[in-house]
């Protein structure tokens, strides 16, 4: 078996000329109204966006959006309608069959509707295994582009985070776009006041 130093020294031997690191200065796109752009892009990528009014009851709104949902999974304290908790399930498999998973997003990205979701639950499966995913996002937390986004992301000790932009999708059969490949079949972003 080759060792790290075998491989690295062989690689190093073969470098002919070293190039300097460029200054990363991209005049990246910004938007006069990042929130409006974020909403537009969310719809473009197949997601739904619902803006909560200060008077709305969060749990009622979700119930109204998914009247048929029986199994709801969330570890968020403000969610009272959850029937499962990804922190306390025995294993990730126990989250299968979740109709609606409810999670929190830290911020959204206007250019592509990505939402940064660090793992804040024992089983991150809830973000993917649920048939429908609801992401709570404070509407003030929108950045313009990924350069801004990557300056902001923070990791906790769980060591996992993902950007999610709309529902799982595929075009692998004859280039026909189908929502709901292996993960959530629908995504609703609830914009919080």
């Amino acid at each position: 078996m080759a060792t790290k130093s075998d491989i690295l020294s062989k690689y190093k031997r073969n470098i002919n000329k070293r190039f300097p690191m460029p200054e990363i200065k991209v005049d990246a796109i910004t938007y006069p109204d990042p929130l409006a752009q974020f909403v537009f892009m969310s719809k473009t990528v197949g997601g739904k966006v619902v803006e909560l009014k200060p008077t709305d009851d969060l749990n009622h709104v979700i119930k109204r959006l998914y009247p048929d949902a029986k199994v709801i999974a969330s570890n968020l304290p403000e969610i009272t309608i959850a029937t499962r908790n990804p922190d306390t399930v025995e294993n990730a498999q126990a989250l299968n069959g979740t109709d609606v998973g409810i999670i929190r997003g830290m911020f959204g990205v206007a250019e592509n509707a990505c939402i940064w979701i660090p793992q804040t639950m024992k089983e991150k499966a809830v973000c993917f295994i649920s048939e429908n995913l609801v992401i709570l996002l404070p509407k003030s937390e929108i950045v313009n582009n990924m350069h801004e986004a990557y300056k902001r992301i923070k990791f906790n000790n769980l060591g996992y985070g993902t950007f999610i932009s709309g529902p799982s999708k595929t075009a692998d059969i004859a280039q026909v776009l189908v929502m709901g490949a292996q993960a959530a079949r629908s995504v609703t972003v609830l914009l919080l006041p």
Partner: protein, 465 residues
């Protein structure tokens, strides 16, 4: 002229005109979607330039970045392995799986595991491997290899997939609706995710500063593959490591826009360590030729590739010959170049599958000089012993004629004779031009002759100053 394997395969491909046109139009529409994305960002060319410069820097400092990456990954609690070639890689994977008593492994898409032919190796050692990207799953069930690096099952239409699923997944007879078929694949794969003992992902990027493995998918299958099983193995080629998040932002913005014409993949997932209840995450860094290629002064920049597939989508030859017409497992312009780095004797035939139109290097998000490199590979065929002797003879003949003005002039004088050759002689198999073209009519007098005879006259009217 003796034809290459590519040209023969392409000829076969084009016999089914309806399918060939669908193939061309499908990829052209992906190219168009990509154009819309590129035109939508005024900073697009700046991004390409920056991405290219970052890659140049990173590849020529990769010894340092790999060290930083592995140190950070280990600090995060990951177990890092180094594989010098495909055989070592496969052995490492198998030993990890055996140590964890894995019987079944789900995996997300990885060109590296195709490169190392990992699946057959593991299967031969009793491990069940389930591909979870829908396209990869389709070709796995079909017993085929990918025909495109981003859209691996693009060569099959919905009837092909429908019939396959009827047989393998027991779907309804005759129901070939893509939405239905996708749903049925979802149900079947869901069961695999829940029961697998391990999940493997590739990686689009490794981040030196943080030790993250970053995986981009539309289906969420990399996340599903790592959410349930107790073990996550990530495998990446050495060249996937980049310095930091500022660099990642540049590549993340371009990868999907260039590849499929979407503003982003649905999921851009960062794996830094295993889930709380799982075994430590394993990362395998694979050389398999890369350190060697770095030493090739004319071709090392092929290592800049981020595997977006846009060079295939724009390549007029790829679109009209399909992924299977190339001898290397990665087709199109980048595949021609990587194949030559891998084994020039075996893959020389691919270098003539190019008109040197240079659309590939004009489209490439990291500005690899793909077409120029193909030109340069052609110059080396003699040294590999793979040059086409007829082409060489023709080139020598041309060179001789052009190098002797007297002979050149006689040839010019004789060329109108071709106009009077009988059709059977003109369009025989010795004249491949005649396969698709009518011959040009040679004029009675060449420019040379006209000039000598004083028949090339100045303009009658002079521009008024």
């Amino acid at each position: 002229m003796s034809n290459t394997a590519h040209s023969k395969a392409a000829k076969e491909f084009l016999k089914n005109q309806k399918y060939a046109q669908w193939h061309d139009q499908t990829f052209w529409s992906v190219r168009t979607k990509r154009d819309n994305m590129a035109y939508g960002l005024s900073e697009w060319e700046q991004l390409r330039e920056t991405a290219s410069a970052i890659k140049r820097h990173t590849l020529t400092h990769l010894d340092e970045y790999l060290d930083q990456f592995s140190t950070n990954a280990e600090k995060n609690g990951c177990i890092v392995h180094w594989a010098k070639d495909a055989a070592e890689f496969n052995e490492i994977v198998l030993s990890i799986l055996r140590e964890h008593h894995v019987k079944k492994m789900v995996k997300s898409k990885s060109m590296l595991t195709e490169e190392c032919e990992m699946n057959p190796y593991l299967e031969a050692h009793g491990i069940e491997v389930v591909e979870t990207d829908l396209g990869e799953r389709i070709i796995q069930l079909k017993g085929q290899k990918p025909s495109h690096i981003v859209m691996p099952a693009i060569h099959l239409n919905h009837d092909d997939v429908g019939e396959l699923f009827e047989e393998k997944l027991g779907t309804e007879k005759g129901n070939h609706d893509p939405t239905y078929l996708t749903y049925m694949a979802r149900l079947s794969l869901r069961n695999e995710f829940l029961t697998a003992d391990a999940g493997m992902t590739g990686g689009n990027f490794g981040i030196a500063e943080t030790g993250d493995i970053v995986v981009c998918t539309n289906e969420g299958n990399a996340d599903m593959s790592t959410s349930c099983p107790k073990l996550h193995i990530a495998a990446i080629g050495l060249e996937k490591v980049i310095p930091n998040y500022d660099c990642l932002a540049v590549f993340q913005r371009m990868l999907c826009r260039a590849g499929t014409g979407q503003p982003t993949t649905t999921y851009t997932s960062h794996f830094r360590k295993a889930r709380p209840t799982a075994s430590p995450m394993h990362i395998i860094l694979v050389d398999n030729g890369r350190s060697e290629w770095m030493g090739n002064p004319e071709h090392w920049e092929s290592l800049k590739c981020i595997r977006c597939g846009s060079c295939m989508n724009t390549c007029p030859v790829y679109r009209r010959s399909g992924g299977y017409s190339y001898s290397y497992f990665i087709p199109g312009p980048i595949g021609i170049n990587l194949g030559m780095l891998r084994n020039p004797k075996e893959h020389s035939g691919n270098v003539s599958a190019c008109t040197l139109c240079l659309s590939c290097q004009s489209v490439c998000p990291v500005k690899i000089d793909l077409g120029d490199q193909i030109y340069k590979w052609r110059q080396q065929l003699t040294s590999f012993g793979t040059a086409n002797p007829q082409k060489k003879l023709m080139s020598s003949g041309m060179s001789f004629v052009f190098n002797h003005i007297g002979i050149y002039n006689s040839a010019l004088w004789a060329s109108p004779l071709a106009n009077r050759l009988p059709r059977t002689l003109m369009y025989c198999s010795l004249n491949p031009w005649g396969e698709g073209h009518e011959m040009m009519q040679f004029p009675k007098e060449s420019f040379h002759t006209l000039w000598k005879k004083g028949k090339v006259r100045k303009a009658k009217v002079k521009r008024e100053k």
